[in-house]
Symmetry: C2
Subunit: 161 residues, 2 copies
């Protein structure tokens, strides 16, 4: 049973243990594969974002963030990022976090949600977001310097809330 709650300072070790292997592959997130714990936690847990964890039997199995995609006159559109722990893939935790984040963004007053750089080759992610109601509204040529594929395209995805 996956539960979702706001992250606390006590979750930082667990969040870093999720982030490190996710970025190490260099195939989904822009963060350099060798980004430091300090850099990543100061981004992921910064007070300009809402930070959440998904737990399974009290173990942190995933984490996501919600934030304004633009300042002020663009701040009614949310942006979000999601990571699942290395031991918990393919158990529906990404989808559960996605669904929760949509509800939560609506509750926070956002009118839409936008992903700015969904790596096109990350087909599972693209399919998941489409399943959750996101449309591909643009494709950026060579947006992402992929560890295996070098410069590769990325999608901009969007849904109203």
């Amino acid at each position: 049973m996956t539960e979702i709650r706001k992250a606390t300072a006590d979750d930082q070790d667990a969040i870093w243990h999720i982030i490190r292997p996710v970025i190490a592959t260099g195939d989904t997130y822009c963060f350099a594969p060798d980004s430091s714990r300090e850099k990543m936690l100061s981004y992921w847990c910064h007070d300009d974002k809402y930070t959440y964890v998904a737990t399974v039997e009290d173990n942190v199995a995933g984490t996501f963030i919600l934030k304004d995609n633009q300042v002020d006159l663009g701040s009614h559109v949310a942006n979000a990022s999601y990571m699942v722990s290395a031991g918990y893939e393919r158990q529906g935790i990404g989808q559960r976090m996605g669904e929760y984040s949509i509800q939560e963004a609506r509750r926070l007053g956002y009118r839409a949600m936008q992903f700015n750089i969904v790596v096109k080759s990350n087909e599972r992610a693209v399919r998941l977001w489409q399943k959750l109601g996101f449309d591909i509204i643009g494709e950026i040529p060579d947006a992402f310097n992929h560890a295996q594929l070098s410069y590769t395209n990325a999608y901009i995805m969007y849904r109203k809330l």
Copy 2:
């Protein structure tokens, strides 16, 4: 004759005098129309960006910034913003800055340039970027809370360098 150079600390008054009326109209930039000098200069002149001014007979007539559009594995794509001084519109200064920024971004090693939120109703800007080789690669519904039009669409524009 328009000249372009890196901004210095001495340009901050002039840059603020450009920014204030540009954002006050609430029809082109996301910054709240009443954003403070401190907020705007700490954004526009932050050391994560390259900041330039365009001068006409030693008067600062425009300013623009160049920065990474994404971190690390997305940092080969530049993002830029441009503002022309209230007294110097429609003299080609925007175009001159645009052309210069493309050359400069190339020189700095960027491979492409992307604008994330070009307000669709800002037709002069859209036409200028198209003239300078940018394509519309996506349209975001209701991306911008326009002072007159309320929620209105914006384009994502892109060109290779």
